[in-house]
Assembly symmetry: D2
Homo-oligomer: 345 residues x 4
């Protein structure tokens, strides 16, 4: 039984993490900090937790004083806010899993370019492990600081990794067309997240400028062994949860669909959270679970491969993956607390 | 470990039941029958189950031949279809939990009036126990045949039972205004269930004529110790899951809100699936769980009590309650497999 | 051709009004004021207007300086904000249609009780005409100041007026269960209006305390010729537009459903915006229109009448009714600019 | 004033057409045929039309007997069903606008390949004019038979036409990622169109196999002056209306975003139904209108252009465009009856 603290527990990713940790056999939640709801009962902020949790949210300052009591710290803060608390936690010997973006980008310059703020903990960048379990499992086991991947990036990297690793595609031809539910925008108050502004509509946003782009490129470049530049276009879909990524790339050779399927099945064969599906993925098929469904089509007419991946953005795209990483770091069963069967309806 | 069979496993209630049973520590699913999908893999019908279940659906005829292998039979069929299979199962010593309406109404005449078909197993009516655990727990423990309550009825009866039991209201003044997500209409193909016909709209249906009315009246009459006639009006809401019932009644005495709260808390004090909440219930607060949230307002201006109850129609209103009944019948922990923390978003 | 000014044109009711006025043959929009978007193009705030309107929003101070240029002023502000501008407009001889609540309640004390602020224009209360065209048509024609009805109130009063006018019901038995789309909450930034907080859920709010209650009671009391106290319970439904009110009352006599239908048809016979329908109203049937659909059921078992009314909250419940009032005040055809056929899908 | 007949008036495209024609100043509807609802009042099928229309649907056989009474026939039938009635109408001198797919594909072989049925009116293929007004206006004016474009194809062709016409892109690099509301699937009863199967989920369908692909290729090939093969991937989005197409292509030269904007503005400069927008298109901005919004991004990192187009699938993507074509064919003002300001919320 380990002890966990959660910084920023009242955002959407944070509450999802609490939901998962509450069901986890090997973890107790020692504290939950919240910027907006310090001193308030967590179950008052999210009424669904009523009678399940009595925790009262604390401030981040109070949380800092409790770092000694915990084994692992989860951080779910907006970018630019994790540097300080991460350092303090690591100094106390607490392992850190940052659900935010602050340690995902290896280069502090690239970070500054895309996020517009200075990186204030460059000394930790080398140590930080990119927490995509299916790719970095062994590093994660030994890590002290995990940069938990972004939601779109998880769906994108998992979709394309086998193609790049196996050098099957023209690396300059990648286009990722992403679609996300509105919870991906977080709980921040903005006009664009109001019900009547999202419902009954779809739009693209952050076209050719979204911050998940360099993160996807970085990780896929590692797979390819060479620098990759690609297009990533996110869209906002009127639903709460779910990300679907439709990824396109030009095949180098005339591979058949079954060949590509074979390659994916080999690559992800033993992964329990990746399902290579013969039907086309739908986000509802992974709702509430830590799964990533991947389906493949080869368009012979244009010799392109189309890979479709679906995740629950709040789980595999955030909190579930964080727990998966924790499980690896502490030697628990990798699926402990996250082996959930999806909720179809 | 007991063995269960499911008849009608590919409707919405059926699939939800499979979802719950799959996670249950004391049950193995022996077979799933399906009218429309016999011989098809269950996970092909509901893709979310891919890699979790390999079961192939069978016909009801084949299911009959397997009755000897099981301890409990769940039936999730349209009304009028459960008589025969129920008799056969009981004859083989198999306990039956019918999620349909065929054994809910004590009087075969009332059944015929509201359902429009003859009751073909009147000999079983006395034996059948109405499976509302919070009310009939001790009978359920000993029952061989459970009539699992309807979705609206569960939310309605739980909301009003303490008032009637304690004789606090004018029994002729009850009005229940129900609101349900579209999954309540089942998976049947009808124009009214198409996305573009339900979305962005709300309507009442079955006004003064819905079949859950006599069921609510029957059970509340038992609570009151006298015959009760009431109004129940269902509405269709553009969401997948959830039922909210807003129930109105005239208070006999000038009770304060806190008095009524006290009465509910006393009545439901030890119930782990009933939450008496001080905020107003929302269906999302119980999503994916077996909970019923109940909130109360007393309107001093009109001396009426307004009780608001929220359930997940597919769980507490159907499959979850069925599992709760099974747990009682077989001496398992009542919350086994259904102690789920709701999914807020 | 008359000239209109709009105060608060960038809220949801405001923009709907601009939408209608833009299509009106006898009106030109002279100015649009906006608290949040002064100096911004209106079509930048609501992109759908791009290429249709070039208007730049102005501040309310600037709007005051332009009062002399206009014939009618529409005000769509939060309650408590209309007093001052109304006085200034009336002083300049400008007719005023206030879409807010400030002149709806005849008694300044009742106003203060429910709205929590002092009424600062009590001298205008007598002069203000409650702008429900179907009830007050002749007064509206001559009015200088219109208090445009609330959205729930419109659907409620239209539903119950004939019953009270004809003394058919027990006046103490009225219960109105209202359901509204999220646009009814306006464009204000609050957690409860975020997509992920409203979608896939339904809840009641303001139970036994909603500000539309005294407004409904006031107008129905006039119909009845005696003071009426009733219950009104609003609910939030995951859709953009639409209000459905399900109203319950005890019939004095044993009227048949066809009798009640006859009474409604007589009462509303010539009204072009009221449809007495034989099917059950659905909000989608009136979407985008100024219609109010009314359906009736008599429950013989309890001798209660159930009246169901549906409106588009932004049109008949706000902007459409405002235009209807303007048409009456200026002698235009009553349906000018609002005779829209509803948009079914 | 011309007289119109509608074949297949009770599908979604059909009802939208009735909605538009009802508001058109120069057209009277002579008859509406319906396969499923012959002899039923149209307003009973779509209650929103109650009191606006008294028409009773007729069978197609009866419609054939009335061909002599009309000037124009609109056909909204599933593919493969338009051949016969089209021939009969043309023989009687009636102009035909087919909203279905039967005359869109110039080659009967390509038609057979993608639609799986024999083309039974090949003699009409040469005569049929592809009814994309912005591209074929002059041909449409003189046409007797119009093949009204598909919904996705309209959004796709309008998005890419200027690029191909101006030879700005690598023709082999085109990828169109389309997203549609559920009304695009029509009113047919199928599991996949049920509310609880679409809501809260997104999926791709018809990947590398959708029938709109050859139609888009055919028309863009004409623009390019050479054969084009491309990828088109449709997705189902949980909303009623709207199509968004995100189209990607490789720029031949290093064009700046403003250059591309200039080219589009020049190309579509006088078109009243095309809006070249500087913000990113959202389907709600065109809801209920005949508009196509187009926004452009140039990604300098990959030298690709991303064109985003939004339409209301039922209007510009079907019925609105059909009316636009009729206006051209009969010399009416092109925007007559379809100059609707979009409905933002």
């Amino acid at each position: 039984m380990i002890k966990a603290g959660v910084i920023g527990g009242t955002g959407y990713a944070g509450q999802e993490l609490i939901w998962l940790l509450h069901n986890h056999s090997n973890v107790s939640i020692e504290f939950i900090s919240s910027h907006n709801y310090a001193e308030k009962e967590f179950a008052e902020v999210y009424n669904s937790f009523y009678k399940f949790m009595q925790d009262v949210c604390i401030s981040i300052l109070e949380a800092e004083r409790k770092l000694e009591d915990i084994d692992v710290l989860f951080i779910a803060l907006p970018h630019g806010k994790s540097f300080d608390i991460t350092k303090k936690a690591l100094n106390k010997g607490v392992k850190v899993i940052d659900l935010g973006a602050d340690f995902r980008i290896n280069s502090s310059e690239v970070y500054k370019t895309w996020y517009g703020v200075e990186h204030n903990a460059t000394e930790l960048l080398e140590e930080a492990v990119y927490g995509l379990s299916e790719v970095n499992r062994e590093y994660i086991r030994k890590a002290k600081l995990i940069a938990n991947p972004g939601c779109y990036t998880t769906a994108s990297i998992l979709a394309l990794y086998p193609l790049l690793k196996n050098k099957l595609i023209d690396n300059s031809s990648i286009i990722i067309d992403g679609k996300s539910g509105v919870s991906g925008a977080g709980r921040e108050l903005k006009i664009g997240s109001l019900f009547a502004e999202c419902n009954e509509s779809i739009k693209a946003y952050g076209v050719a400028a979204h911050r998940h782009t360099p993160e996807i490129e970085q990780e896929l470049s590692k797979a390819a062994g060479q620098g990759i530049t690609l297009i990533f276009t996110p869209h906002l879909v009127p639903m709460n949860r779910g990300i679907l990524c439709t990824s396109y790339a030009k095949l180098k050779d005339n591979l058949l669909e079954e060949d590509v399927y074979k390659i994916y099945e080999d690559f992800y064969g033993k992964e329990q959270f990746i399902r290579i599906v013969k039907t086309l993925p739908e986000t509802r098929n992974v709702r509430g679970s830590n799964l990533c469904d991947i389906g493949i089509k080869v368009d012979k007419r244009t010799n392109r491969v189309i890979v479709i991946s679906a995740i629950d953005n709040l789980i595999k795209g955030a909190a579930g993956q964080a727990v998966q990483n924790m499980n690896l770091m502490f030697g628990f069963k990798e699926s402990e607390g996250i082996g959930i069967l999806p909720m179809q309806i």
